[in-house]
């Protein structure tokens, strides 16, 4: 996968207010070209406003926004020409059929109508192009919106809750698209509040809350920073052999939840721990280090931030 070092998107101390509400409040965000950034956060965290600031659809009240090296407020048309957006609601023309939706989009972006059918085929919506979009299912609408967003082969793709309301198959298709586009060097920003969606596709995770970036970085770095006490699941033929595990070196705590979930100071102590238990005659049936998931990470970040405040 090609990764370029320059920044495709850069937000520094950006603010955007709606009346007295600060939708984005001093946000810093850097997305390298050719990378996938996932904006994670609950509703109202400022994710959609951030996307709108990136395309210049909204004006920042303070701070600096640069996209492809350009200012969205002065070069917004150029930026939008090189950007594809899938909004939370697909924003399709319901009275028109799929062909019209894609052809008019092609006309606005100045691309050939020849690109319409391949884009529709790519998302498996080509069979429904003759139908009025108002009769599409949620999944079909999202597929058409995705086809529309990539019709002009954008350098940057902004996906705002692209899998909302989708069935698992359609959701997987969306995530596959993101992987494919990322593999072709496109810069992708995806907003979601579904943590599992970001797993495996994010080069960078930005956890947002109240318009701010609460934590940002590659998932592995965030895990190292916030998940300092790895968990290992243990089980044994005779569970009484696990009773005194908290007295062993390197063990912080242990709780039963189907099996014994043991928090260690670090994973380096695991081999010695297992060897000692086996040496004591404990016949272990399960030793499973829990890989840090984004969900763990997210809630750990929230817990850490709460404790800090």
């Amino acid at each position: 996968m090609e990764r370029m070092s320059e920044l495709a998107i850069s937000l520094a101390s950006v603010e955007r207010r709606f009346g007295s509400v600060r939708a984005v409040d001093g946000l810093d965000l850097e997305v390298p070209a050719g990378s996938v950034a996932v904006l994670l956060g609950p509703n109202g965290a400022g994710k959609t406003t951030t996307v709108r600031l990136i395309t210049g659809a909204l004006r920042a009240h303070a701070g600096t926004v640069r996209v492809l090296g350009l200012d969205p407020q002065t070069d917004g048309d150029t930026i939008r020409q090189r950007t594809g957006v899938v909004p939370p609601k697909p924003a399709l023309f319901d009275q028109l059929d799929g062909w019209d939706n894609l052809r008019f989009t092609a006309d606005i972006w100045g691309v050939s109508h020849d690109s319409v059918l391949p884009a529709a085929e790519r998302f498996g919506i080509d069979h429904a192009l003759d139908q009025a979009v108002g009769g599409y299912s949620t999944g079909m609408r999202t597929r058409l919106a995705l086809a529309r967003a990539v019709l002009h082969d954008p350098d940057i793709l902004l996906l705002d809750e692209p899998t909302a309301g989708l069935d698992p198959e359609s959701s997987r298709a969306v995530l596959d698209l993101i992987r494919e586009l990322a593999g072709r060097g496109r810069t992708i920003v995806m907003c979601t509040h579904l943590l599992h969606e970001a797993e495996g596709i994010a080069d960078q995770v930005v956890m947002m809350g109240a318009g701010k970036s609460q934590a940002a970085g590659p998932p592995t770095r965030l895990a190292a920073e916030f998940l300092r006490e790895p968990t290992v699941v243990f089980d044994a033929e005779d569970r009484t052999g696990l009773d005194a595990i908290t007295e062993r070196p390197g063990v912080i705590s242990a709780t039963w939840n189907g099996a014994l979930h043991v928090k260690l100071e670090d994973l380096d102590s695991l081999p010695d721990l297992v060897a000692a238990m086996v040496g004591d005659g404990v016949r272990l049936t399960r030793v499973e280090p829990q890989l840090p998931t984004l969900e763990h990470l997210y809630f750990e970040v929230q817990r850490t931030l709460r404790s800090q405040s």
Partner: protein, 275 residues
């Protein structure tokens, strides 16, 4: 600014209108009523030999006799019935040329910008490379076209009716007269453009289509009254005054349209509260 993009915005709207029976059926009925049904019935009554016709001709004749001498000279016809039919066909129905296109166009214009926000499709336009001016002009064209299309068809039908019902009295085809051409080509368009410039501005500012339509009615009414007065007056004296009034109206329209296009803000297309 790219004309092809402007036309694409207009085509999107027009295609949607064409697919929307809720819009074009009532508007077609409106145009049909004003351009075909009412003129046909009235001219049929006036040119018939019934007692009602005689009474009506007498009343119209009384009105015509009260007009100043130079104005009376513009009304042709050898008999009172012919003069009444001429006055009715050429003068009294003139405001139709304003009311129909203005009503049809303002109905489109009122919902065009705020409607995009309500439907969520404003998000598409806001994230597109279209400039605000391209969007505005596209919306303006898509508002004007239905009104002028209906007027062109309706005016053709109206001319046919007038010439068939009243023409024989004047030696054949005589309508449209020079005054009507001046009205249709030079005077009506700027008045409609003035109204649309205000309505589009309102549509870009309010938060719902209902509010836009209410505001559009308030805007349309004085424009209709003003244009009614102007167009009726011009038909009595289709000379330099018409050109002057048309010119002034065009200047006001252009100023209004430029101001309107400058006032359109991209973020108002988004479904968020902007305060």
């Amino acid at each position: 600014m790219r004309l092809d993009r402007v036309l694409t915005v207009a085509r999107i709207d027009l295609r949607r209108l064409l697919k929307s029976r809720d819009y074009w059926i009532p508007m077609s009925l409106l145009a049909g009523l004003f351009f075909v049904v009412v003129p046909f019935v009235m001219l049929s009554v006036v040119t018939s030999a019934s007692g009602t016709a005689n009474e009506l001709v007498g009343q119209i004749g009384g009105v015509l006799d009260a007009l100043p001498g130079p104005v009376q000279e513009n009304i042709q016809g050898a008999t009172p019935q012919a003069r009444a039919a001429y006055a009715f066909a050429v003068y009294l129905l003139a405001p139709v040329a304003i009311i129909v296109p203005l009503t049809i166009s303002s109905a489109v214009a009122a919902q065009t910008l705020v409607g995009e926000r309500e439907r969520g499709t404003g998000e598409f336009f806001a994230h597109s490379p279209l400039t605000e001016r391209e969007m505005y002009l596209g919306k303006l064209i898509s508002s004007l076209v239905p009104g002028f299309f209906a007027t062109a068809i309706g005016f053709g039908a109206y001319s046919l009716i007038v010439n068939l019902r009243v023409g024989p009295e004047f030696g054949g085809w005589f309508f449209p007269t020079a005054g009507w051409w001046l009205l249709i080509v030079w005077v009506v368009p700027p008045f409609i453009a003035i109204a649309l410039s205000v309505i589009l501005w309102v549509s870009s500012r309010v938060t719902s289509t209902a509010a836009a339509q209410q505001a559009a009615s308030l805007v349309s009414l004085p424009v209709i009254v003003a244009s009614y007065a102007v167009s009726s007056g011009l038909l009595f004296d289709p000379t330099l005054a018409a050109l002057l009034i048309g010119s002034v109206a065009w200047i006001i329209a252009v100023i209004g349209l430029i101001s309107g296009s400058n006032a359109l803000q991209r973020e108002r297309l988004l479904s968020v509260g902007i305060d």
